[in-house]
């Protein structure tokens, strides 16, 4: 009854023993390889954070030292007095503006020829001259003190360099050479005494300045129109306010103490709230992000103000109103616009748009537009218009997706109730997809804030906080932006210097700003998914 035994084991197709390496089969290895690649995005994000921090973090220590030097070398002391002078300069600008207005009044309204007008303005010029010269005593003191303070700072920096040199020599074991490096010990109290000793001089100069200012004001000429007279009164008031700040400055100077420590948070605080981004200056470098942030903010605001209506409007049109043929034509065209390289748009702004807008602003019939006419062809408006063209495709595509995701039943129900197409869109479709649209706008904002080449080429690159007193005309001022400053200055800085690190901190701010915007956009979208159910 024995069944015949097979001569050999049957041949199966899959009897191959699996090769194992380190306990892994080939399939496991493949899986791990792919998984490792997937992890790269996490690694990259971590690395970006790490390297931005690594390069940027030293900034705070260096900035602290720089601020300390600023105080110890007496630069701060001199700047108090200088601020007083700056206030006077602002008043002088006001006066110059007043002269221009009066001149215009004579020439355009009273139709005098230019020479007569200038002759009429002679008393005013005389007055303005007195007003401007009144600051002279103070200015003399400032220039003396500037020299002294700079000398102290230079001495201090040289000593610091020597210290570093000695440490380096010690580190490589050259003790004798290290001992030979002479370090001047700076006697701050003695050096600064020369500075603070000028206080009585300052007191008299400041008092004299105030008297001269008032005397000049008393001799102010009559203004031809009530409007101009009101402006002159305003100047009087401003000057009085200005003089009223003198005692405060004096008190600052009297109580100034170079030993007063600079708190540890001051370094970061001065970066976040600093109103000056001043680099490579002979006096003192300041790294304050406010002007750059405001520049980025204003440019993005203008861009979004243009891009949101156009982007969302086009999305609504294409998704809800356009015929199928129009849809097929418009969508690729807008995607095509999205492919425009930003540097080409930036070039277009420099070569064409800036000049076009400037010429347009000088047309008589457009004079009512705030800020028109303007003379700087590269400004917030130029950059904003081009950024809008970059943001429109982003907003359009995402908003169109959001509209597409609204269930058809919503629309049908609305029609069944007798609503017109417009009513359906305004009351049903748009509210239902609102969170999607908002997140589209947010992602558009992220795109605009991070855009570099257009703002670098077209925003005007003037590092100053836009003058908001100008009202809406603020959009015709040139600014500098966070992205622009990195692109512009990164190529020129010394590696490891405070300036270099400051740029990395700006990058860090940009990075976290973009993460926040992204996070918000995702959060809104997620909420939206639940609500539709």
């Amino acid at each position: 009854m024995d069944a015949p035994r097979p001569a050999q084991d049957p041949e199966f197709l899959v009897n191959k023993t699996r090769v194992r390496l380190l306990g892994l089969s080939f399939d496991d290895a493949v899986k791990i390889f792919f998984g490792g690649n997937a992890l790269i995005s996490v690694v990259v994000l971590t690395l970006i954070t790490y390297f931005l921090f690594q390069e940027g973090f030293g900034f705070f220590g260096q900035n602290h030292r720089s601020l300390l030097t600023y105080r110890q070398a007496g630069l701060e002391y001199v700047d108090y007095i200088r601020q007083q002078e700056t206030g006077h300069t602002a008043l002088n600008r006001y006066l110059a503006d007043l002269r221009l207005r009066e001149f215009n009044e004579f020439v355009s309204v009273q139709k005098l020829d230019i020479e007569t007008a200038n002759a009429r303005l002679a008393p005013f010029d005389d007055f303005a001259g007195h007003f401007a010269d009144s600051v002279d005593p103070l200015r003399g003191i400032i220039s003396d003190l500037t020299e002294q303070a700079t000398a102290i700072k230079t001495k201090f920096l040289v000593a610091e360099d020597k210290k570093v040199e000695r440490e380096q020599l010690l580190a490589v074991g050259k003790t004798d050479e290290a001992a030979a490096v002479k370090i001047d010990i700076i006697d701050f109290p003695a050096e600064l005494k020369a500075l603070t000793d000028t206080l009585p001089l300052y007191r008299t100069a400041s008092a004299e300045f105030a008297v001269k200012l008032m005397a000049a004001l008393d001799k102010a000429p009559q203004m031809p129109t009530p409007e101009l007279a009101a402006r002159l009164d305003r100047l009087r008031q401003l000057t009085k306010d200005y003089i009223a700040t003198f005692p405060a400055t004096q008190r600052l100077l009297e109580t100034w103490d170079y030993t007063r420590p600079i708190p540890w948070y001051q370094s970061g605080l001065s970066f976040i709230t600093g109103k000056q981004w001043l680099t490579a200056s002979f006096w003192q470098d300041f790294y304050g992000i406010v002007p750059l942030f405001m520049g980025s903010f204003m440019v993005s605001l203008v861009a979004l103000a243009l891009a949101v209506p156009f982007g969302v409007g086009a999305a609504i049109y294409v998704n809800q109103m356009a015929s199928a043929r129009e849809q097929r034509m418009i969508k690729p065209c807008i995607e095509f616009i999205a492919a425009f390289p930003s540097v080409v748009l930036g070039f277009f702004g420099i070569a064409v748009l800036g000049e076009t807008l400037r010429l347009l602003s000088q047309q008589e019939w457009l004079a009512w537009v705030p800020g028109f006419p303007f003379s700087e062809r590269l400004n917030i408006l130029t950059a904003g218009c081009l950024l809008a063209l970059i943001a429109v495709p982003t907003i359009f595509t995402l908003a169109e997706d959001a509209l597409q995701n609204v269930p058809k039943a919503f629309k049908e129900a609305s029609f069944a109730l007798g609503a017109t197409r417009l009513q359906t869109i305004v009351r049903i479709i748009v509210p239902a997809s609102l969170s999607g649209i908002i997140s589209a706008v947010l992602l558009g904002l992220g795109r605009v804030i991070g855009e570099t080449m257009v703002v670098l080429l077209c925003a005007g690159n003037r590092i100053a906080i836009p003058d908001f007193t100008a009202g809406l005309a603020v959009i015709t001022q040139p600014v500098h932006t966070m992205t622009g400053i990195i692109a512009q200055e990164m190529g020129e800085v010394v590696q490891g210097s405070i300036h270099y690190r400051a740029l990395f901190v700006v990058g860090l701010v940009l990075f976290f700003l973009s993460l926040t915007i992204n996070f918000l956009a995702q959060k809104i979208v997620r909420k939206y998914r639940i609500s539709i159910g």
Partner: protein, 348 residues
């Protein structure tokens, strides 16, 4: 009031209807304004640029512009004639004409010659970075679509991809400087540029590839698995071949983005001017990847911001912008058309 054509069932022209027509027209105008703006920018650059790129006689294309290196342009008057010559020609001219020895000329940098090194550099940058990005991106997408199960790690990966997509390009530039140029000490080099650009487009490639992989019907995989194939065999034979066209077309959009970006390569790979072509005078093959190159987008930045705007410099400015725009536009159009074509072809 009512025209003879109206009858009881024709739509009533009431205020709601008028409002609707007006709204449609407003939206229509908005949409076409966007298209018009795009067309204006495109048209202006094409119009001005074609003056540089094309010529009126055979071969109708300004070959010098495509094959030569940038040169300084000399504009001068000689014998009462206004002449414009590139740097080399100017020297030759001086040598040939003894009377022209102390000729004074106005000079404009980069305004003569061509842009060949910039084109070559851009091609090299794009090829290298896309190779890296595709390898990393497609592998990551395969993991996410085929292997990954919902979990904390996968969530972390997805969140990083989403966030990486929103990081500004200039921040990638800074990162490239910190990691590749300084920490790994690659200096300003092709390699640093490749990796910076590759990491920048990575989210685009991953998202696009994952979408294409997900579009392959589940039945294809199940069929292969049921026949006893391993997971990797399934992916290799039954998923990737069908997803590949989709992956490639979507990645072309990534190429357009890589080619168009300036900020990340400004400090990692690009030189404003370099006499040698990337393959000239190499001491060893390794040097090839450790050299900086010229790149079209950076060249546009340089010629539009560092030299004045006038009739002499305009040619090279518009010409470069035109060539660059054309390259990017061609890539983008190919991608859009291919995608529409594929959508029609694969229906399962």
């Amino acid at each position: 009031m009512s025209s003879p054509a109206r009858h009881a069932f024709s739509a009533q022209i009431n205020n709601a209807r008028r409002r609707e027509t007006a709204a449609v027209w407003i939206f229509r105008c908005v949409t076409y304004t966007v298209l018009l703006c795009g067309a204006l920018v495109f048209g202006k650059i094409v119009f001005q640029g074609s003056k540089t790129v094309f010529t009126t006689e055979a071969p109708f294309i300004n070959t010098a512009f495509f094959t030569e290196s940038p040169e300084t342009l000399h504009v001068f008057e000689f014998d009462g004639k206004k002449m414009e010559l590139g740097d080399r020609d100017f020297r030759a001219f001086k040598a040939a004409n003894p009377t022209a020895k102390d000729l004074k000329s106005e000079t404009y940098v980069y305004s003569a010659g061509g842009i060949f090194p910039a084109i070559a550099g851009t091609v090299l940058l794009v090829l290298g970075s896309m190779t890296i990005a595709l390898t990393l991106g497609v592998s990551a997408a395969i993991y996410l679509s085929e292997y990954a199960t919902q979990g904390r790690v996968v969530t972390a990966i997805r969140i990083s991809i989403l966030n990486l997509a929103g990081v500004p390009s200039i921040v990638f530039g800074l990162f490239g400087v910190g990691l590749f140029v300084i920490f790994l000490d690659w200096n300003v080099s092709l390699l640093a540029g490749w990796f910076t650009l590759a990491l920048m487009v990575l989210p685009v490639v991953i998202t696009a590839s994952e979408e294409s992989l997900k579009a392959v019907p589940q039945g294809f995989r199940e069929g292969a698995l049921a026949l006893g194939a391993t997971k990797w065999q399934t992916i290799r034979t039954n998923v990737l071949p069908y997803a590949m066209p989709g992956i490639l077309t979507s990645s072309i959009l990534g190429i357009a983005r890589v080619a168009g970006e300036t900020a990340p390569i400004m400090f990692t790979a690009a030189y404003a001017m370099r006499d040698k072509l990337p393959w000239e005078d190499l001491e060893s093959y390794g040097d090839f990847v450790f050299q900086g190159v010229m790149a079209l987008p950076y060249h546009i930045y340089v010629v539009s911001s560092k030299i004045p705007q006038n009739e002499y410099t305009e040619r090279v400015q518009y010409g470069t912008a035109f060539v660059f725009l054309m390259i990017v536009a061609m890539i983008a159009t190919t991608s859009i058309l291919l995608r529409n074509h594929l959508r029609k072809r694969y229906r399962w």
